[in-house]
Symmetry: C2
Subunit: 157 residues, 2 copies
DNA sequence: TTGTGTGGTTGCAATATTAAACCGTATGCC
DNA sequence: GGCATACGGTTTAATATTGCAACCACACAA
């Protein structure tokens, strides 16, 4: 009855969800990208049980999303910061944010807007472009089987 | 001990996760966006237990991501299709996919690539633009408190 | 009218989440 | 140094969710 792992799945969406697709991981990553680094900061901000936070931080470190560094204030504690792989999650956070901004039933309850730091103006919606520069919607795309170079090991369908 | 609900949260990321932030919902939505519509199709594709699939479909319908329609083949069964709100999740799926493409340890196990339907060429990476057209990274953005128009009801921080 | 496929529901065992108590190590303060 | 307290967890026990398998109702076919 173990929660089924998606790690070996051949779908890239499933593989991403396997890494940070649970209730708390993305919120921890969001907090980290807002500059929070300490165990206590995450706990206070998210209000989740400490044991859960501990296991989540541990697996996020294992998976290369976060890394631990010595505390910046000189104390003997450690802090958790995003790796490049963790920073790469930023567009996903933006996509989630923009979906809520567009479709949520109570947009008045959204506290913040994302702005361009230089100008202070709201950012535009994420755009998916073709190689020749056209804006693509879902209907303008398809999936193609990836050409296999050497030997594919475990991928199924 | 009920799983804490994020519905009333003021963070748009949390609000999105509250709607489809569990293990299976996004995969169901992915399947739906690939054209799968029937209970059995989802079940065979995802390999999840039928009771779980049933509850997920029900809540996704309740939350306006999917809607049920009479079966397209004339049989008396029903099918599940994405609403506009559900189609709006597409950029999130793209962002997840692209993260895996860029950071996964075994990219050779990824089966498909997303291509522009017209040309058959891979799509470009999602781009976040400022209003004056600059490409923005995480460090080029900040969050600003949303100006409150009328009375904010429940939002906290 | 008997059989089969589809679309579920029900019951039970295993696992995950939660809150709360506990604990060792650092700091802070005297 | 000595005591109190904060930090960063681990442990425990209750509850909720997940997963599997068996069951069931209805539609459709023969």
């Amino acid at each position: 009855m173990k929660r089924t792992s998606l790690a070996g799945d051949s779908c890239p969406v499933a593989r991403a969800l396997d890494v940070f697709g649970d209730w708390w991981s993305l919120l921890i990553i969001r907090d980290a990208s807002l500059g929070r680094r300490r165990f206590g900061e995450f706990q206070a901000s998210l209000g989740l049980a400490k044991n859960i936070l501990a296991t989540r931080l541990r697996t996020l470190v294992e998976r290369g999303i976060l890394k631990t560094v010595p505390a910046s204030d000189g104390s003997a504690y450690q802090e958790y910061v995003l790796t490049p792989k963790g920073h790469g999650i930023f567009p996903i956070l933006v996509a989630l944010r923009q979906w809520t901004e567009e479709f949520d039933e109570h947009p008045d309850e959204i506290a913040t807007i994302m702005v361009d730091r230089d100008r202070g103006k709201p950012v535009k919606k994420l755009a998916l472009l073709s190689q020749d520069g056209r804006v693509l919607g879902a209907a303008d795309t398809t999936l193609k089987l990836r050409p296999v170079r050497k030997v594919a090991k475990r991928a199924s369908a």
